[in-house]
């Protein structure tokens, strides 16, 4: 079942890539379609990141003793904003998580 799911996702992804290039030809994308698509990236990323840092165990927690991932996430966000370097953000974020875990 998992393999079939991956194949369907792969096919669907290819079809979205092919869409205007292969099938709809030169047709311009209508505005009602283009506008929402521009907000898919920020909305999806937000929907992935926020739950992972405020409710990793299913309950909303902000204090490091109960959920060190929130504070580690805030520290990592500051580093991401300043440097935008994936390796650095992973290093600082994971390091903060381990230190907070050890402290509390």
């Amino acid at each position: 079942m998992n393999w079939i799911a991956v194949l369907i996702i792969g096919l669907g992804t290819y079809l979205t890539r092919l869409s205007f290039i292969g099938a709809f030809g030169e047709r311009e994308m209508p505005g009602w379609m283009e506008r929402p698509l521009r907000f898919v990236a920020p909305a999806v990323m937000g929907a992935i990141v926020l739950p992972a840092v405020v409710q990793p165990a299913g309950v909303i927690e902000f204090l490091p003793a109960a959920n060190p991932r929130f504070m580690a996430g805030v520290i990592a966000a500051a580093v991401a904003y300043k440097w935008r370097n994936v390796s650095l953000v992973i290093a600082v974020g994971m390091g903060s998580l381990w230190v907070l875990d050890w402290l509390f």
């Binding site: 996702i9 669907g12 205007f20 992935i48 991401a80 953000v89």
Partner: protein, 233 residues
Amino acid sequence: MKDQTDMRRGGLADGARALTPLLLAVVPFGLVLGVTAASSPAGGLLGIATSPIIFAGAAQLVTVQLLGTDTSVFVVIITALVINVRHLMYSAAMAPHFSEWPRRSRFLLPYLLTDQAFALSMLRYETTDDPVYKRWFFVGAGLGLWLPWQLATIAGVVLGAQIPESLGLGFAIPLVFLVLLIPVVQTRPGLVAAIVGGVGAVAAGEAPYGLGLVIGALLGVAAGVAVERLGEP
């Protein structure tokens, strides 16, 4: 004829070269994907297979993370496709450039249409008109990403098998997305879309079948559109 060969080689090399600096972000992302897959119920082999089959990092991460968990397979598919629907936008923007290409290229090359190859190609197309050069620049950028992505995924799976669960490496996933989030929240509607998407996903955390992410994302998109409309004169 020689001219064409030059254009092809030049385009291919320029595309690959333009992509190289981005590997600093892409390789760690691929490693995280592999490590995640290795420790997920879906398994490392499936994780490796997502790289050639899906070839879209964000959707792959969510797929390997969710497959085999409580989330229904149907919802995993919907979630991944919502994440990937942005490719429609890239496809529309690239179509005028692809139309000069041979039919076979028009069907094969969209497979390589990623965020990175799209952004680099559109930038380069502003300063060049040669269809052969344009096509091969895209191929260079596309393959320049494809190969390291496959290798990084495999390396991550191999590595992940040795890393103990207690290190909490799953946290690297939101960290990767945090970096991807920064450039898309530079406008006010983009920022609102991200915040509403996040808060919506948290609020819908209890939604059945693991639909929280999709519900949050749809709310975020609606909020972004609304804020942009309000900002118009």
